[in-house]
């Protein structure tokens, strides 16, 4: 691949797209696929060919359009006027004829999904900019929207250290949870000893209630490959791994296809863009272990071992995969890299807040009207996400809490709803940004039960290596079970609080250290619910089954 070839592919693809008068985009990401969008796409294809419109109307499968709650989603876009696109919701195969008939006339009214609403207008798309636009299975479409231009720019005009400086200046922080400076991490790996280095993409999205990474991988896989290649160039790595959940078969399939295409196009492999830069990517399948989101456990898993973490230091940046300096970033972090390179660090740093730059993708789920995938600028008030973008709480119920950060995060109560969503503000109320799961809970959710749910998760996901996490999560889960079934005592609560402190301070890895967070935040903001279970033997939300106080034993 030469720079000229890259721009030629882009031009040909763009010209081809212009030939069609209309493009019909059908969401074939896992969300809509589960409501049979593949059948919708087939029906549209048949309808178009039946009417002999193949040359003027192009039906294509695209990635996530965002509003999963209203799927299957279909978007009809006139090529000449992209702004006049119409979105249809809850489309079935039977609607295909009506949609194709409407191409030259008014839209099919009964199916229209309004897009002039805050769910769409308040979002700011960087990571998801191609999602729902391009066909994830075709590298040409990615190239046509400036794909791999960032990689080209980097290898042909920048020194590795300049790339790192650029990422550093952008202020990008890890999107996997902790929010460590991406530039700093890259520079540590770049300085690492030895000539063999690795780049790993953590796509083991393990938080229950999070599907951002899955969506990015399914909708725009090349974006992640390009981000990894840029990182590899910057730190001096020639081999990369994507550690992806086996539970995401569609993402795995699209990634495999994307890697094959990139290799064939010379965008991965040896002598990329004709310079002495070699970089290959292999996929490694996770096998259902949340703890493998922890860097050292993930490395153990790629090495084919039990995914148990080891004490740090040494950090993977110094000694990681097979003892070599290893860069681990998550999917969303890598996906942010190509636009930062193309548009410059100043552009990126201009979005967001002082310490949290850019945007963040959230998986909005739970008791909220518009469940789906959203991307918002950092610093947006939580209230805006819940009520404007999310459309508020359905069924006339009242918001109780917003859960962020999964089992390592916390439950944020209504009174903090006006806080900006950024790393520091979330930490201040005892939660974390996490990878981006955001679960809305209304007054039918019992906060003690939610704490129990997450503790059950941690107990079953604990690797069992260190004592405080192995035994502590089991003890805490037992205590929460007692409290929710009405047999808990004041002493149980005291012990629960004590164990929170012990796990936090003494556990080996992040799983155990943060396992107490859901308990601590619910205790901080919803202590009265614990008291009600313990003293009055009632569940205010009415969701726990309280047994009559039997004998003590």
């Amino acid at each position: 691949m030469t720079p000229e070839e890259l721009s030629k592919i882009a031009t040909i693809e763009q010209e081809e797209q212009q030939q069609h008068k209309h493009v019909i985009q059908v969401c074939v990401a896992a969300g809509c696929l589960s409501s049979h969008s593949d059948q919708v796409k087939d029906a549209l294809d048949k309808e178009v060919s039946k009417r002999g419109l193949e040359n003027t109307c192009h039906v294509k499968g695209v990635g996530c359009l965002g509003l999963c709650a209203a799927g299957p989603l279909v978007r009809v876009q006139p090529t000449a006027k992209p702004d006049a696109a119409v979105m249809y919701q809850a489309v079935t195969a039977n609607d295909a004829a009506d949609i194709v008939s409407s191409l030259e006339g008014p839209p099919v009214k009964r199916l229209v999904c309004p897009t002039n609403v805050p769910f769409f207008t308040r979002q700011k798309k960087i990571v998801l900019e191609n999602s729902g636009i391009i066909d994830p299975d075709r590298i040409e479409e990615y190239i046509a929207v400036n794909g791999y231009a960032g990689l080209l720019q980097v290898v042909s005009t920048m020194r590795p250290s300049e790339v790192i400086d650029e990422v550093m200046r952008s202020g990008l922080r890890g999107r996997g949870g902790a929010g460590f400076s991406t530039g700093l991490k890259w520079s540590t790996v770049a300085k690492g000893r030895g000539s063999t280095k690795y780049v790993i993409c953590n796509a083991d999205e393990g938080d229950p209630g999070a599907f951002m990474d899955r969506s990015v991988l399914e909708s725009d896989p090349h974006r992640v490959l390009e981000g990894m290649a840029i990182a590899a160039y910057a730190v001096g790595a020639s081999q990369g791994y994507i550690y992806v959940r086996a539970e995401y078969p569609l993402a795995v399939k699209r990634l495999k296809a994307a890697i094959r295409q990139a290799e064939r196009a010379g965008l991965l492999g040896n002598n990329i863009f004709g310079i002495t830069f070699n970089f290959s990517i292999d996929i490694r399948l996770g096998a259902g272990a949340f703890v493998c989101g922890e860097e050292t456990a993930l490395i153990a898993s790629i090495e084919g071992k039990r995914g148990t973490p080891r004490p740090r230091p040494p950090y993977p940046a110094e000694s990681g995969l097979w003892g070599c300096p290893t860069l681990i970033n998550n999917v969303e972090t890598f996906a942010n890299v190509p636009p930062i390179i193309r548009n410059g660090s100043a552009w990126f740093a201009g979005i967001g807040t002082e310490k949290s730059k850019g945007t963040k993708v959230f998986a909005l789920a739970g008791r909220v009207t518009n469940t789906g995938l959203i991307e918002v600028p950092m610093g947006i008030p939580l209230r805006e996400i819940v009520y404007d973008i999310g459309g508020g709480i359905p069924d006339g119920k009242k918001l109780k809490a917003v859960q962020t950060g999964g089992p390592s995060g916390g439950c944020i109560p209504e009174q903090h709803l006006d806080m900006p969503v950024d790393y520091e503000s979330l930490a201040k109320v005892g939660s974390i940004m996490g990878s981006g799961g955001m679960i809305i809970m209304d007054d039918t959710s019992c906060m003690v039960d939610v704490a129990k749910f997450f503790m059950e998760f941690c107990r079953s996901e604990s690797c069992g290596k260190c004592v405080p996490c192995r035994v502590g999560t089991a003890q805490m889960h037992d205590l929460l079970c007692r409290i929710t079934d009405g047999s808990g005592t004041a002493d149980d609560l005291t012990l629960l609080i004590e164990l929170c402190d012990v796990l936090r301070a003494t556990s080996l890895c992040g799983l155990g250290q943060t396992a107490p967070n859901p308990v601590l935040t619910t205790l901080q903001f919803f202590k009265h619910e614990y008291d009600a279970h313990i003293q009055k033997k009632t569940c205010p939300a009415g969701s726990c089954t309280i047994h009559a106080p039997a004998e003590v034993i």
Binding site: P311, P313, S460, G464, K465, V471, L499, T506, L508
Partner: protein, 243 residues
């Protein structure tokens, strides 16, 4: 294996419990503390086996670090200030040891290792007189299929000394851990009876490095099982000398 060139190691000075001590930078806090007669309690650690920092009992406070660090795997650094004993550390250590007592069925009074058990003596050293969290009472098995040894899961603390000694020193890797979290167990081969193991050489190293009565010699009665661990040091020295 050919002799490796000895890398240059720097000498550093640090403070442990307020005392100025000297060390080389490839040493751990635990090693340096022991050389200077400072006691740090340990359980999964065993001199001669690779350290894993798993039991969390040797955690120490390091000035400037936001986390407690395990002395057995943390290397010393110039100017480091280490506190090995404090009210807070003792409280954590006690709770962790109590967790182990609560996790499985440790009935010291009828154990073959009574009086020679590292968990038991650790509890005494830390002043534990009772366990302030609920006992879990899991249903566990005793494997007496081996001709000379017994494995009693009720008394296992999952320190993995047996796994490490079998893998690193004996080279058989008969032992490993199955499952995870609270359900993790020590197993032989494909989770089969020890007596049927095709890889076990019957060397007994695992029995003698086991800190409790989980692995013992057959035919011992209460309090009769005394572990002999000197062999490990001896083997390591002999192997080093050969290289």
């Amino acid at each position: 294996m050919s002799p490796q060139p000895v890398p240059q190691v720097r000498v550093v000075t640090l403070k442990i419990d307020g005392r100025d001590v000297g060390a080389t930078e490839d040493e751990t806090i635990l090693e340096v503390a022991r050389q200077n007669g400072i006691f740090i309690p340990t359980l999964c650690y065993l001199d001669g086996l690779p350290s894993i920092g798993a039991c969390r009992i040797c955690l120490c406070e390091i000035k400037g670090a936001n986390k407690l660090l395990p002395a057995c795997v943390t290397r010393v650094q110039e100017g480091m200030e280490v506190t090995t004993d404090s009210e807070r550390l003792t409280r954590y250590r006690k709770t962790i040891v109590e967790m182990l007592f609560a996790e499985r069925n440790h009935v010291c009074a009828v154990c073959v290792s009574n009086g020679h058990c590292e968990l038991q003596s650790m509890a005494q050293k830390l002043g534990i007189t009772h366990v302030h969290m609920p006992y879990r009472y899991p249903k566990l098995t005793v494997d007496a299929t081996h001709a000379r040894f017994v494995q009693d899961d009720n008394r296992c603390v999952l320190c993995t000394r047996c796994v490490r000694v079998c893998d690193e020193v004996e080279g058989a890797h008969t032992w490993d851990i199955m499952g995870r979290g609270i359900d993790a167990r020590v197993i032989t081969d494909l989770n089969q009876a020890w007596g049927d193991s095709s890889s076990c050489t019957g060397c007994g190293k695992c029995v003698h490095v086991c800190p409790t009565g989980a692995l013992t010699e057959k035919g011992r009665s209460t309090a009769e099982m005394v572990k002999k661990q000197q062999f490990l040091q001896y083997l390591m020295q002999m192997r080093e000398a050969k290289q």
